[in-house]
Protein backbone atom coordinates (compact mmCIF):
# COMPACT_ATOMS: atom_id res chain seq x y z
CA UNK A 1 0.00 0.00 0.00
CA UNK A 2 1.45 3.30 -0.99
CA UNK A 3 0.63 6.46 0.91
CA UNK A 4 0.78 9.24 -1.61
CA UNK A 5 3.40 11.85 -0.83
CA UNK A 6 2.50 15.50 -0.72
CA UNK A 7 2.38 16.90 -4.22
CA UNK A 8 1.10 13.68 -5.73
CA UNK A 9 -1.71 13.76 -3.19
CA UNK A 10 -2.95 17.01 -4.68
CA UNK A 11 -2.98 15.51 -8.15
CA UNK A 12 -4.73 12.38 -7.00
CA UNK A 13 -7.38 14.37 -5.17
CA UNK A 14 -7.92 16.66 -8.15
CA UNK A 15 -8.16 13.61 -10.35
CA UNK A 16 -10.90 12.21 -8.15
CA UNK A 17 -12.77 15.50 -8.05
CA UNK A 18 -12.74 15.61 -11.82
CA UNK A 19 -15.13 12.65 -11.79
CA UNK A 20 -17.74 14.50 -9.76
CA UNK A 21 -17.92 16.76 -6.69
CA UNK A 22 -17.04 14.69 -3.62
CA UNK A 23 -16.68 15.06 0.10
CA UNK A 24 -13.63 13.97 2.07
CA UNK A 25 -14.52 10.41 3.04
CA UNK A 26 -15.91 9.74 -0.42
CA UNK A 27 -12.58 10.76 -1.96
CA UNK A 28 -10.69 8.29 0.23
CA UNK A 29 -13.08 5.44 -0.55
CA UNK A 30 -13.21 6.16 -4.28
CA UNK A 31 -9.44 6.45 -4.54
CA UNK A 32 -8.91 3.16 -2.74
CA UNK A 33 -11.51 1.44 -4.94
CA UNK A 34 -10.23 2.79 -8.23
CA UNK A 35 -6.62 2.00 -7.37
CA UNK A 36 -7.66 -1.43 -6.03
CA UNK A 37 -6.24 -0.55 -2.67
CA UNK A 38 -2.93 0.73 -4.01
CA UNK A 39 -3.47 4.29 -2.85
CA UNK A 40 -4.51 4.70 0.75
CA UNK A 41 -4.95 8.35 1.59
CA UNK A 42 -4.77 9.23 5.27
CA UNK A 43 -7.15 11.81 6.70
CA UNK A 44 -4.22 13.72 8.13
CA UNK A 45 -3.05 14.29 4.55
CA UNK A 46 -6.42 14.55 2.81
CA UNK A 47 -7.89 17.54 4.62
CA UNK A 48 -4.79 19.75 4.51
CA UNK A 49 -4.59 18.85 0.81
CA UNK A 50 -8.20 19.83 0.20
CA UNK A 51 -7.79 23.08 2.09
CA UNK A 52 -4.61 23.84 0.19
CA UNK A 53 -6.33 23.25 -3.13
CA UNK A 54 -9.10 25.58 -2.02
CA UNK A 55 -6.64 28.23 -0.92
CA UNK A 56 -4.77 28.08 -4.22
CA UNK A 57 -8.00 28.39 -6.15
CA UNK A 58 -7.70 24.92 -7.68
CA UNK A 59 -10.81 23.63 -5.95
CA UNK A 60 -13.98 25.11 -4.54
CA UNK A 61 -16.11 23.84 -1.70
CA UNK A 62 -19.67 24.14 -0.58
CA UNK A 63 -21.74 22.68 2.18
CA UNK A 64 -24.62 20.42 1.23
CA UNK A 65 -27.17 18.70 3.37
CA UNK A 66 -27.58 15.05 2.38
CA UNK A 67 -29.67 12.62 4.37
CA UNK A 68 -29.71 14.92 7.37
CA UNK A 69 -25.92 15.27 7.34
CA UNK A 70 -23.99 18.35 6.35
CA UNK A 71 -21.07 17.51 4.14
CA UNK A 72 -18.52 19.70 2.45
CA UNK A 73 -18.33 18.89 -1.21
CA UNK A 74 -15.29 19.81 -3.25
CA UNK A 75 -15.04 20.32 -6.97
CA UNK A 76 -12.19 21.44 -9.21
CA UNK A 77 -12.20 24.95 -10.57
CA UNK A 78 -11.21 25.85 -14.12
CA UNK A 79 -7.72 26.55 -12.82
CA UNK A 80 -7.72 23.17 -11.11
CA UNK A 81 -8.68 21.38 -14.31
CA UNK A 82 -5.94 23.20 -16.18
CA UNK A 83 -3.36 22.41 -13.50
CA UNK A 84 -4.34 18.74 -13.57
CA UNK A 85 -4.02 18.60 -17.35
CA UNK A 86 -0.54 20.11 -17.26
CA UNK A 87 0.54 17.87 -14.40
CA UNK A 88 -0.88 14.81 -16.15
CA UNK A 89 1.14 15.55 -19.29
CA UNK A 90 4.25 16.06 -17.20
CA UNK A 91 3.74 12.77 -15.37
CA UNK A 92 3.26 10.99 -18.67
CA UNK A 93 6.54 12.40 -20.00
CA UNK A 94 8.30 11.52 -16.76
CA UNK A 95 7.03 7.95 -16.78
CA UNK A 96 7.98 7.48 -20.44
CA UNK A 97 11.53 8.71 -19.91
CA UNK A 98 11.84 6.75 -16.69
CA UNK A 99 10.99 3.47 -18.35
CA UNK A 100 13.24 4.31 -21.29
CA UNK A 101 16.11 4.45 -18.77
CA UNK A 102 15.05 1.24 -17.06
CA UNK A 103 14.76 -0.56 -20.36
CA UNK A 104 17.79 0.56 -22.36
CA UNK A 105 17.41 -2.31 -24.82
CA UNK A 106 14.50 -0.49 -26.27
CA UNK A 107 11.59 -2.37 -24.79
CA UNK A 108 9.89 0.84 -23.83
CA UNK A 109 6.72 0.88 -21.81
CA UNK A 110 4.52 3.69 -22.80
CA UNK A 111 2.36 4.73 -19.92
CA UNK A 112 -0.91 6.33 -20.63
CA UNK A 113 -2.01 8.84 -18.04
Amino acid sequence: MLEPQRGTAELLVLGMLRLRPMYGYEIIRELAERSEGYFELQEGLLYPTLHKLEREGLASAEWREVGGRRRRYYAPTTAGDAALKVAGEEWSRFARRFFDILNPEGESSHVQV
Binding site: Y47, H51, R55, R71
Partner: protein, 335 residues
Protein backbone atom coordinates in the same frame (compact mmCIF):
# COMPACT_ATOMS: atom_id res chain seq x y z
CA UNK B 1 -23.62 4.83 17.14
CA UNK B 2 -22.82 3.43 20.58
CA UNK B 3 -21.97 5.59 23.55
CA UNK B 4 -18.34 4.50 23.59
CA UNK B 5 -18.06 5.29 19.86
CA UNK B 6 -19.47 8.74 20.53
CA UNK B 7 -17.03 9.31 23.38
CA UNK B 8 -14.14 8.15 21.26
CA UNK B 9 -15.14 10.54 18.50
CA UNK B 10 -15.47 13.45 20.88
CA UNK B 11 -12.07 12.74 22.35
CA UNK B 12 -10.56 12.62 18.89
CA UNK B 13 -12.20 15.91 17.94
CA UNK B 14 -11.18 17.47 21.22
CA UNK B 15 -7.52 16.66 20.54
CA UNK B 16 -7.81 18.09 17.06
CA UNK B 17 -9.58 21.18 18.40
CA UNK B 18 -6.69 21.86 20.74
CA UNK B 19 -4.37 22.13 17.75
CA UNK B 20 -6.75 24.48 15.97
CA UNK B 21 -7.20 26.98 18.81
CA UNK B 22 -5.09 29.52 17.02
CA UNK B 23 -7.41 29.63 14.03
CA UNK B 24 -10.39 31.84 13.38
CA UNK B 25 -13.49 30.56 15.27
CA UNK B 26 -15.49 30.19 12.06
CA UNK B 27 -12.69 28.21 10.42
CA UNK B 28 -12.43 25.98 13.47
CA UNK B 29 -16.14 25.24 13.49
CA UNK B 30 -16.19 24.32 9.82
CA UNK B 31 -13.12 22.11 10.07
CA UNK B 32 -14.46 20.28 13.10
CA UNK B 33 -17.87 19.84 11.54
CA UNK B 34 -16.27 18.36 8.45
CA UNK B 35 -14.14 16.02 10.54
CA UNK B 36 -17.06 15.05 12.71
CA UNK B 37 -19.09 13.90 9.70
CA UNK B 38 -16.04 12.06 8.44
CA UNK B 39 -15.53 10.27 11.75
CA UNK B 40 -19.16 9.21 11.89
CA UNK B 41 -18.89 7.61 8.48
CA UNK B 42 -15.58 5.94 9.29
CA UNK B 43 -16.99 4.50 12.49
CA UNK B 44 -20.15 3.45 10.75
CA UNK B 45 -18.14 1.57 8.11
CA UNK B 46 -15.92 -0.02 10.74
CA UNK B 47 -18.95 -1.22 12.65
CA UNK B 48 -20.40 -2.69 9.49
CA UNK B 49 -17.10 -4.45 8.71
CA UNK B 50 -16.80 -5.82 12.22
CA UNK B 51 -20.36 -7.08 12.04
CA UNK B 52 -19.45 -8.95 8.83
CA UNK B 53 -16.20 -10.38 10.13
CA UNK B 54 -17.32 -10.92 13.70
CA UNK B 55 -14.42 -8.85 15.06
CA UNK B 56 -15.04 -6.73 18.09
CA UNK B 57 -13.47 -3.29 17.85
CA UNK B 58 -14.69 -2.24 21.28
CA UNK B 59 -11.87 -1.99 23.75
CA UNK B 60 -9.17 -1.97 21.10
CA UNK B 61 -7.09 1.09 21.30
CA UNK B 62 -9.31 2.92 19.01
CA UNK B 63 -10.16 1.41 15.72
CA UNK B 64 -10.85 5.04 14.98
CA UNK B 65 -7.35 6.12 15.88
CA UNK B 66 -5.86 3.28 13.89
CA UNK B 67 -7.84 4.44 10.91
CA UNK B 68 -7.44 8.21 11.33
CA UNK B 69 -4.00 8.41 12.87
CA UNK B 70 -2.91 10.54 15.76
CA UNK B 71 -5.43 13.39 16.23
CA UNK B 72 -2.62 15.73 17.30
CA UNK B 73 -0.82 15.13 14.00
CA UNK B 74 -4.07 15.53 12.04
CA UNK B 75 -4.79 18.81 13.84
CA UNK B 76 -1.24 20.10 13.37
CA UNK B 77 -1.27 19.44 9.64
CA UNK B 78 -4.61 21.17 9.21
CA UNK B 79 -3.41 24.08 11.33
CA UNK B 80 -0.22 24.49 9.30
CA UNK B 81 -2.21 24.64 6.11
CA UNK B 82 -4.57 27.27 7.45
CA UNK B 83 -1.77 29.36 8.93
CA UNK B 84 -0.11 29.34 5.54
CA UNK B 85 -2.96 31.45 4.20
CA UNK B 86 -2.43 34.17 6.79
CA UNK B 87 -0.57 37.27 5.88
CA UNK B 88 2.54 38.13 7.79
CA UNK B 89 2.71 41.51 9.46
CA UNK B 90 5.07 42.72 6.75
CA UNK B 91 2.76 41.52 3.99
CA UNK B 92 -0.26 43.13 5.59
CA UNK B 93 1.52 46.46 5.96
CA UNK B 94 2.99 46.30 2.48
CA UNK B 95 -0.35 45.76 0.82
CA UNK B 96 -2.42 47.92 3.17
CA UNK B 97 -0.64 51.22 2.67
CA UNK B 98 -1.57 51.79 -1.00
CA UNK B 99 -5.21 51.35 -0.13
CA UNK B 100 -4.93 53.64 2.84
CA UNK B 101 -3.21 56.22 0.64
CA UNK B 102 -5.90 55.83 -2.03
CA UNK B 103 -8.54 56.34 0.61
CA UNK B 104 -6.94 59.53 1.77
CA UNK B 105 -6.71 60.82 -1.80
CA UNK B 106 -10.41 60.16 -2.28
CA UNK B 107 -11.06 62.04 0.91
CA UNK B 108 -9.84 65.17 -0.77
CA UNK B 109 -12.15 64.92 -3.76
CA UNK B 110 -14.25 68.03 -4.11
CA UNK B 111 -17.51 67.92 -2.33
CA UNK B 112 -16.79 64.92 -0.17
CA UNK B 113 -14.73 66.22 2.69
CA UNK B 114 -15.48 69.87 3.06
CA UNK B 115 -14.92 69.79 6.76
CA UNK B 116 -11.62 67.96 6.63
CA UNK B 117 -10.21 70.34 4.09
CA UNK B 118 -11.43 73.32 6.02
CA UNK B 119 -9.82 71.93 9.13
CA UNK B 120 -6.51 71.35 7.41
CA UNK B 121 -6.48 74.75 5.74
CA UNK B 122 -7.03 76.33 9.07
CA UNK B 123 -4.12 74.35 10.42
CA UNK B 124 -6.01 72.66 13.22
CA UNK B 125 -5.27 69.01 13.87
CA UNK B 126 -8.29 66.79 13.96
CA UNK B 127 -7.89 64.26 16.75
CA UNK B 128 -11.34 62.78 16.22
CA UNK B 129 -10.64 61.98 12.61
CA UNK B 130 -7.22 60.55 13.38
CA UNK B 131 -8.62 58.50 16.22
CA UNK B 132 -11.32 56.86 14.19
CA UNK B 133 -9.10 56.43 11.16
CA UNK B 134 -6.60 54.72 13.39
CA UNK B 135 -9.31 52.49 14.83
CA UNK B 136 -10.71 51.46 11.52
CA UNK B 137 -7.33 50.81 9.97
CA UNK B 138 -6.20 48.84 13.02
CA UNK B 139 -9.35 46.80 12.89
CA UNK B 140 -9.01 46.29 9.16
CA UNK B 141 -5.42 45.24 9.50
CA UNK B 142 -6.33 42.82 12.28
CA UNK B 143 -9.12 41.28 10.25
CA UNK B 144 -6.91 41.06 7.20
CA UNK B 145 -4.20 39.26 9.06
CA UNK B 146 -6.52 36.79 10.72
CA UNK B 147 -8.51 35.88 7.67
CA UNK B 148 -6.13 36.60 4.82
CA UNK B 149 -8.86 38.70 3.24
CA UNK B 150 -6.81 41.83 3.05
CA UNK B 151 -8.75 43.82 0.52
CA UNK B 152 -12.01 43.16 2.31
CA UNK B 153 -10.85 44.49 5.59
CA UNK B 154 -8.91 47.49 4.35
CA UNK B 155 -11.44 48.60 1.78
CA UNK B 156 -14.30 48.09 4.22
CA UNK B 157 -12.48 50.29 6.67
CA UNK B 158 -11.71 53.00 4.12
CA UNK B 159 -15.20 52.86 2.66
CA UNK B 160 -16.67 53.11 6.11
CA UNK B 161 -14.69 56.28 6.64
CA UNK B 162 -15.90 57.68 3.34
CA UNK B 163 -19.47 56.97 4.29
CA UNK B 164 -19.05 58.64 7.63
CA UNK B 165 -17.49 61.70 6.14
CA UNK B 166 -20.08 61.94 3.39
CA UNK B 167 -22.86 62.01 5.95
CA UNK B 168 -20.89 64.36 8.06
CA UNK B 169 -20.39 66.77 5.21
CA UNK B 170 -24.03 66.60 4.40
CA UNK B 171 -24.70 68.04 7.80
CA UNK B 172 -21.85 70.53 7.54
CA UNK B 173 -23.40 72.32 4.60
CA UNK B 174 -25.74 74.46 6.60
CA UNK B 175 -25.88 77.52 4.42
CA UNK B 176 -28.03 75.87 1.80
CA UNK B 177 -29.52 72.94 3.58
CA UNK B 178 -31.65 71.10 0.99
CA UNK B 179 -29.14 71.49 -1.83
CA UNK B 180 -26.30 70.58 0.48
CA UNK B 181 -27.92 67.27 1.29
CA UNK B 182 -28.75 66.49 -2.29
CA UNK B 183 -25.33 67.46 -3.54
CA UNK B 184 -23.55 65.03 -1.29
CA UNK B 185 -26.11 62.28 -1.56
CA UNK B 186 -24.47 60.55 -4.56
CA UNK B 187 -21.22 60.34 -2.66
CA UNK B 188 -22.99 58.84 0.27
CA UNK B 189 -24.79 56.28 -1.89
CA UNK B 190 -21.58 55.27 -3.65
CA UNK B 191 -19.71 54.93 -0.38
CA UNK B 192 -22.49 52.93 1.25
CA UNK B 193 -22.81 50.68 -1.80
CA UNK B 194 -19.08 50.06 -1.83
CA UNK B 195 -19.13 49.09 1.83
CA UNK B 196 -21.99 46.69 1.28
CA UNK B 197 -20.55 45.24 -1.91
CA UNK B 198 -17.09 44.69 -0.56
CA UNK B 199 -18.32 43.28 2.70
CA UNK B 200 -20.66 40.89 0.93
CA UNK B 201 -18.07 39.72 -1.57
CA UNK B 202 -15.18 39.16 0.74
CA UNK B 203 -16.74 38.18 4.01
CA UNK B 204 -16.57 41.17 6.34
CA UNK B 205 -20.28 41.49 6.29
CA UNK B 206 -20.56 41.92 10.01
CA UNK B 207 -17.97 44.66 10.03
CA UNK B 208 -19.67 46.57 7.29
CA UNK B 209 -23.06 46.13 8.91
CA UNK B 210 -21.65 47.51 12.12
CA UNK B 211 -20.23 50.53 10.31
CA UNK B 212 -23.35 51.08 8.23
CA UNK B 213 -25.76 50.75 11.09
CA UNK B 214 -23.74 53.13 13.19
CA UNK B 215 -23.52 55.81 10.59
CA UNK B 216 -27.07 55.14 9.47
CA UNK B 217 -28.26 55.63 13.01
CA UNK B 218 -26.48 58.90 13.22
CA UNK B 219 -27.77 60.02 9.86
CA UNK B 220 -31.36 59.25 10.78
CA UNK B 221 -30.91 60.90 14.12
CA UNK B 222 -29.64 64.10 12.60
CA UNK B 223 -32.22 64.01 9.84
CA UNK B 224 -34.94 63.63 12.40
CA UNK B 225 -33.99 66.86 14.06
CA UNK B 226 -32.07 65.45 16.97
CA UNK B 227 -34.82 64.79 19.48
CA UNK B 228 -33.75 62.70 22.45
CA UNK B 229 -36.62 60.22 22.21
CA UNK B 230 -35.97 59.68 18.55
CA UNK B 231 -32.31 59.12 19.25
CA UNK B 232 -33.09 56.64 22.02
CA UNK B 233 -35.38 54.68 19.75
CA UNK B 234 -32.76 54.52 17.04
CA UNK B 235 -30.03 53.58 19.48
CA UNK B 236 -32.07 50.56 20.53
CA UNK B 237 -33.65 49.63 17.25
CA UNK B 238 -30.91 49.94 14.67
CA UNK B 239 -28.24 47.83 16.37
CA UNK B 240 -30.91 45.23 17.11
CA UNK B 241 -31.78 45.10 13.43
CA UNK B 242 -28.10 44.89 12.54
CA UNK B 243 -27.57 41.99 14.94
CA UNK B 244 -30.60 40.14 13.59
CA UNK B 245 -29.35 40.69 10.04
CA UNK B 246 -25.91 39.30 10.83
CA UNK B 247 -27.44 36.27 12.51
CA UNK B 248 -29.46 35.60 9.39
CA UNK B 249 -26.55 36.12 6.99
CA UNK B 250 -25.01 32.91 5.64
CA UNK B 251 -21.87 32.05 7.54
CA UNK B 252 -19.63 32.27 4.56
CA UNK B 253 -20.35 35.99 4.35
CA UNK B 254 -18.61 37.01 7.48
CA UNK B 255 -15.32 36.46 9.19
CA UNK B 256 -15.13 35.45 12.83
CA UNK B 257 -15.57 38.87 14.36
CA UNK B 258 -16.37 39.08 18.02
CA UNK B 259 -19.51 40.83 19.18
CA UNK B 260 -17.67 43.23 21.47
CA UNK B 261 -15.55 44.40 18.56
CA UNK B 262 -18.65 44.85 16.44
CA UNK B 263 -20.43 46.84 19.11
CA UNK B 264 -17.43 49.08 19.53
CA UNK B 265 -17.23 49.58 15.77
CA UNK B 266 -20.90 50.46 15.67
CA UNK B 267 -20.63 52.85 18.58
CA UNK B 268 -17.65 54.56 17.04
CA UNK B 269 -19.41 54.94 13.71
CA UNK B 270 -22.36 56.46 15.52
CA UNK B 271 -20.54 58.74 17.91
CA UNK B 272 -17.66 59.75 15.70
CA UNK B 273 -19.35 62.72 14.06
CA UNK B 274 -20.27 64.02 17.47
CA UNK B 275 -16.66 64.52 18.47
CA UNK B 276 -15.52 65.56 15.04
CA UNK B 277 -18.22 68.04 14.38
CA UNK B 278 -17.34 70.78 16.84
CA UNK B 279 -13.77 70.81 15.54
CA UNK B 280 -14.97 71.45 12.04
CA UNK B 281 -15.57 75.11 11.47
CA UNK B 282 -16.80 77.98 13.56
CA UNK B 283 -19.99 78.09 11.58
CA UNK B 284 -20.67 74.41 12.14
CA UNK B 285 -19.89 74.71 15.81
CA UNK B 286 -22.34 77.57 16.17
CA UNK B 287 -24.99 75.55 14.39
CA UNK B 288 -24.39 72.59 16.65
CA UNK B 289 -24.55 74.63 19.82
CA UNK B 290 -27.62 76.46 18.63
CA UNK B 291 -29.42 73.22 17.80
CA UNK B 292 -28.61 71.22 20.90
CA UNK B 293 -28.44 72.19 24.55
CA UNK B 294 -24.95 72.93 25.74
CA UNK B 295 -24.94 70.25 28.43
CA UNK B 296 -26.15 67.59 26.04
CA UNK B 297 -23.58 68.59 23.45
CA UNK B 298 -20.74 68.41 25.93
CA UNK B 299 -22.01 65.10 27.27
CA UNK B 300 -22.13 63.61 23.80
CA UNK B 301 -18.68 64.91 23.02
CA UNK B 302 -17.15 63.43 26.13
CA UNK B 303 -18.94 60.09 25.83
CA UNK B 304 -18.04 59.71 22.19
CA UNK B 305 -14.43 60.57 22.89
CA UNK B 306 -14.33 58.02 25.70
CA UNK B 307 -15.97 55.39 23.53
CA UNK B 308 -13.54 56.08 20.71
CA UNK B 309 -10.54 55.82 22.99
CA UNK B 310 -11.91 52.72 24.69
CA UNK B 311 -12.55 51.13 21.32
CA UNK B 312 -9.02 51.76 20.15
CA UNK B 313 -7.60 50.35 23.37
CA UNK B 314 -9.82 47.26 23.12
CA UNK B 315 -8.86 46.63 19.52
CA UNK B 316 -5.16 47.08 20.13
CA UNK B 317 -5.32 44.90 23.24
CA UNK B 318 -7.21 42.20 21.34
CA UNK B 319 -4.67 42.30 18.55
CA UNK B 320 -1.86 42.10 21.08
CA UNK B 321 -3.47 39.11 22.72
CA UNK B 322 -3.99 37.43 19.36
CA UNK B 323 -0.36 37.96 18.42
CA UNK B 324 0.77 36.69 21.80
CA UNK B 325 -1.33 33.57 21.38
CA UNK B 326 0.01 33.08 17.84
CA UNK B 327 3.55 33.34 19.14
CA UNK B 328 2.93 30.88 21.97
CA UNK B 329 1.30 28.40 19.63
CA UNK B 330 4.19 28.72 17.21
CA UNK B 331 6.61 27.95 20.02
CA UNK B 332 4.61 24.88 21.01
CA UNK B 333 4.51 23.71 17.42
CA UNK B 334 8.29 23.85 17.06
CA UNK B 335 9.10 21.77 20.15
Amino acid sequence: MSRSDRQEMELFLHRVRQQLAILDPVEQREILEELSTHLEEVRSDQSAESADTGDNLEGEESGLRQRMGDPVIVGQRIREEHLARRLSVRQALWTAWPMAAAGLVVFFLPGTVVGLRASLWQGRPDPGFLLVLGMLLTFSFWQARRSGQLWTAVLAGISGMLSLLAIHDTLAVTSDWPLGRLGLLPGYIVAAASVIGLGWRWGSFRVTLAVLSGMGTYGLYAWGGGSLWYATLLLCLVPLLAIVATCLAPRRYYAGVSWPALLVTWATAFFYPLIYYPALTDEATRWWLETYPLTFSRLMQMSSLLIGVAGLVILLAAQGLAWGRDYRQTQVGTR
